[in-house]
């Protein structure tokens, strides 16, 4: 497994005249971790949904390693090497934890026993292995967040899109997740783009931060640059203490 470069150019999305995203461009080099931040309703999840193929952009394009993927279906984009989690978790509730992750693993391992072995290994890494035979609906919220990450990783992506996987976790659990992602990135070289409100995690993980507000990119830079950027402080960080 290795990372892929994500390139977003002049991306736009209108919902019946409502301009959700306008002219957003940025790139995430292969093997790096970037964060996408911004106030609620800024268009972060809309950008994710366009990368993952939930809907096609109204303007602009998304490319993975130079190959245009915008316009493809979500399963084709998964095939191209993009894994994603959902902000509001969507486990397969009636299936066990192991079966949830196995479904993801079947994409690259068509034989069921191979996929199950792959899924078990991923569950070990995320500390969910003890709970693998429980139904997904019986998991607590932090465990469901972990399950989202496990299921996405099972598809062996080159780019991982994480939509607020830290939300609802306690500080110690955040540290565990941060350590896991950092280790994952170091070991496999996977590219990670995360939407995150938890600044503790953004500061610890991201090499670069992209800030969006009202659907437009207003700043981009290292976490320390962003925390000093006046435009960012005005729209977003003014209310929050930044480490």
């Amino acid at each position: 497994m290795s990372g892929a470069r994500l390139e977003i150019s002049n991306l736009g999305k209108n919902f019946r005249g409502l301009r959700a995203v306008h002219d957003v461009s940025f790139a995430v080099p292969a093997g790096t971790i970037h964060a996408l931040i911004g106030p609620n309703g800024a268009g972060k999840t809309t950008i994710f949904n366009m990368i993952a193929g939930v809907f096609a952009p109204s303007a602009g394009a998304v490319a993975i390693d130079g190959r245009k993927i915008s316009g493809l279906r979500p399963d084709q984009i998964c095939d191209a090497g993009v894994g994603r989690t959902f902000q509001i978790v969507r486990p397969f509730k009636g299936l066990s934890v192991l079966e949830n992750v196995t479904v993801g693993a079947l994409h690259r391992h068509p034989r069921l026993p191979d996929a199950q072995a792959k899924a078990e290994a991923i569950l070990h890494g995320l500390g969910l292995h003890d709970r693998r035979h429980q139904l997904a609906e019986s998991l607590t919220l932090p465990d469901r967040k972990r399950l989202e990450v496990a299921r996405a990783l099972a598809t062996e992506p080159k780019l991982l899109l994480l939509d607020e996987v830290m939300a609802g976790l306690r500080p110690t659990e955040i540290d565990v997740m941060v350590a896991f992602l950092r280790e994952l990135n170091a070991q496999s070289g996977i590219t990670i783009l995360l939407i995150e409100h938890v600044m503790r995690a953004v500061m610890a993980l991201a090499a670069q931060v992209v800030v969006v507000s009202y659907g437009e990119k207003i700043a981009e830079g290292t976490p320390s640059e962003i925390s000093r950027n006046q435009a960012v402080l005005d729209v977003y960080l003014g209310e929050e203490e930044v480490a």
Binding site: A52, V54, R73, P74, D75, C78, D79, G83, R84, F86, R90, P91, F92, K93, G94, L95, E99, T102, V103, G104, L106, H107, P110, R111, L112, A115, R151, A152, A154, T155
Partner: protein, 330 residues
């Protein structure tokens, strides 16, 4: 084969083997009445299993499965009646017709994202207008029906002409075959993709499941299997009417055994078929004694209500837990 039985405890395999031996020996053990009841049980097991692929596995509600059974029955019976083409060749045409019909219904429904009851309405609509079409189609006998010559005293496997024992063994082979097929499907990538779609189609697509293709496979496989039941049905009863072959009650009847027995389980359709057919026979007997017209339907309806209220997941998951077998709803 090893994949099919892997993870199944030995004593369960032994129980399944005993059940199979009993079923194979049944014609020698049962009288004519008992055998006719068992034939019904196996018929509902088979067609319930076929419907279960769509609803229980892939989560797509079809309330028009009579369409596929009816098309299958009419295709094979019509070819036999008009041209003397035997049912073993006819069944190929029957399957092809059902796949085309299922493909059309499925594509219209799934491509345009009709979900839940709206998809169900589409399936009903197709069955209904096919019924009206057959009412007016001379070749198929119109609303007056299509009749095959009754030949109970021969034993002709090639033309499927004969008495109950012949039809018993044919439906037994079909039911066992369908059971094995469903087990194999569930233990495959396609089967797991169906379960994922049933749970959450959008999340499934995000992890690489080609949702439309998998749904199309569910509807066409289910339709093809149902068409085979239609062929068997036509040759067993020797008559076909659009009203019954494509009617709403036929479609509903197909869904009952898996719903009562346990949606999405392998054994549910069989358990449901045993309970429903048994209840039907007992209530017929009681109402014959009481001499009250229609009392059977009331008993039947109340019994269904009680089962659905107290065992909403079906009888089999509950029974399996009590017996310590535990076929989980996959």
């Amino acid at each position: 084969m090893s994949r099919l039985t892997s993870g199944v405890p030995l004593h369960i395999l032994a129980l399944l083997a005993v059940l199979l031996v009993l079923l194979v020996a049944a014609p020698a053990l049962l009288g004519g009445y008992g055998l006719s009841v068992l034939i019904l049980v196996l018929y509902f097991t088979y067609v319930g299993q076929a419907w279960n692929i769509m609803m229980g596995f892939a989560g797509q509600l079809s309330l028009g499965h009579a369409l596929y059974a009816g098309l299958g029955g009419y295709a094979a019976a019509g070819l036999y009646f008009h041209y003397g083409v035997g049912p073993w060749a006819g069944v190929v045409v029957a399957i092809a017709a059902a796949i085309v019909a299922g493909g059309i219904v499925g594509y219209l429904g799934f491509r345009f994202s009709l979900a839940g009851v709206y998809f169900a309405l589409l399936t009903i609509a197709f069955a209904e207008f096919t019924r009206i079409g057959f009412d007016n189609w001379e070749w198929a006998g119109g609303s007056g029906g299509l009749f095959l010559k009754v030949e109970r005293n021969v034993f002709d496997v090639f033309d499927l002409r004969g008495g109950p024992v012949l039809f018993y063994y044919v439906i037994l082979i079909l039911a066992v075959g369908c059971f094995v097929l469903c087990r194999a499907l569930l233990e495959s990538r396609l089967g797991r993709y169906w379960l994922a779609i049933r749970e959450d189609a959008e999340a499934a697509q995000a992890v690489g499941v080609p949702v439309l293709r998998c749904k199309m496979l569910a509807v066409t496989i289910s339709a093809a299997l149902t068409a085979v039941a239609g062929v068997w049905n036509a040759f067993y009863y020797n008559n076909l009417f659009p009203e019954t072959a494509f009617g709403m009650s036929r479609s509903i009847e197909i869904t009952l055994a898996p719903i009562i027995g346990g949606l999405g389980t392998l054994f549910g359709p069989f358990v449901g078929a045993v309970v429903l057919t048994g209840m039907g026979e007992i209530f017929t007997d009681i109402s014959d004694r009481l001499h009250i017209a229609g009392i059977k339907q009331i008993f039947y309806g109340v019994a269904l209500l009680v089962i659905v209220m107290y065992r909403p997941a079906g009888i089999w998951p509950w029974l399996a837990r009590r017996l310590g077998i535990g076929e989980r709803r996959p």
